[in-house]
Symmetry: none
Subunit: 208 residues, 2 copies
DNA sequence: TGAAATATAGCATAAACATGCTATATACCG
DNA sequence: CGGTATATAGCATGTTTATGCTATATTTCA
């Protein structure tokens, strides 16, 4: 009783959506594939589609909405839909927050084609699939990256505004030595060597 | 005298590269297509390929390098190659700086498939092709931000990644002195005193 | 063509940063 | 009660930035 598999892809980058839809059809043997670049169009389709089995590839970054809120809406409309996040994001905080919404799988756009196959297999066995790149990112995240303390984050804000140690010290009423200590502890946690790298880290972790 | 068209795509997101390669083959009638996710592999291929006609789809954001410096290298290796920037970037300054490197075309990843066709047609007529979305973005370009030169923006990208002067210099093949000059000119234009402030400025103006 | 902008490169010096150490007081958790 | 995390502060030293100058070649554009 081999049934036809259905899949849709939602990505605001139309070329990517269209290309990936073609790939699913040609390489993964999925018969019916449609691509969307807007959440509204997609939801309209989903309501009309009914409660059949459906693989949904979702991007995290979408123009006016967020892939996560769409996931909630998808569950409401079709509880049987298999939702796979396919995203270019690499920030551990982002991947982690996606997982808390319990999709069927998370895939990096940088992953190999074989991981797409593996993902389908895992979903058929009702297992959560996380691509190897994200596994790696999450494991180093959980282990090494502890949260910044409130005082550290406060100091970080000033650095992100471009203030120097001395300026930050006078604004926080701390000794410059203390500011340096906070900064160096953050840099140790984030494993970076310069303020520039720390600010990049902070951006990626949505700390600023 | 219909010859076989060759194309390659360079995108660090493997799934995107692979999917788009499939699209070019199936929808654009291009016979030989290869995809790469790393500049080094790609350049190796390019050297072996020789001076035949070749369409090269380049992404702007690449892990350790920048699509722009790659373009310079491509011209050196194969002067007849047709280079098409295919990018998800939307910042006017970025699009503008890409254009100053004189690729054969610039396409947004959000563009319609029809624009890919149109792009090939334009290139055959030796016309520069700019997709409609980018045309629109450039026309509403805020003149104030335009004060950063292409080279300056390229250097800025490295600073935003947390690289030091020395690291940036080695990656751009410039003298550290030159990198310092570019940096100080940007800082003067943005009226700031530290890298941190300049990065804040760059964030706020969507330059990075 | 000629002025202006861009890209390149250098020297010198003071300020700021990065990092190796140490140290005390307080707070929180089990 | 005692261990761990947090917040505070310091010294010493080498590296990197920031900034004041100058200078040439190339490109762009009016």
């Amino acid at each position: 009783m081999k049934t036809t598999s259905h899949a849709v892809i939602l990505d605001d980058q139309k070329i990517v959506a269209f290309s990936f839809a073609l790939l699913l059809k040609r390489e993964c043997g999925i018969e019916l594939v449609q691509s969307f670049s807007q959440g509204s169009e997609f939801l309209q389709f989903l309501r009309a589609f009914g409660k059949q089995e459906l693989f949904i590839f979702l991007d995290y970054y979408l123009p006016n909405e967020n892939g996560l809120s769409l996931l909630t809406e998808i569950r409401r409309i079709n509880g049987d839909a298999k939702v796979i996040f396919l995203t270019g994001a690499t920030a551990p905080a982002v991947i982690s927050s996606i997982l808390q919404y319990r999709p069927e799988a998370v895939l990096s756009k940088s992953c190999e084609l074989s991981e797409v196959f593996a993902c389908f297999e895992a979903i058929k066995k009702k297992e959560l699939y996380i691509c190897s790149e994200f596994e790696r990112i999450l494991s180093t995240y959980d282990k090494k990256i502890k949260t910044f303390t409130p005082r550290e984050i406060e100091v970080l804000q000033y650095f992100s505004e471009g203030y120097s140690v001395a300026e930050t010290a006078s604004r926080t009423f701390l000794s410059p030595h203390t500011v340096v200590t906070h900064r160096r502890k953050m840099m140790a946690k984030a494993e970076c060597q310069t303020i520039g790298q720390m600010l990049k880290y902070a951006r990626e972790h949505n700390l600023i």
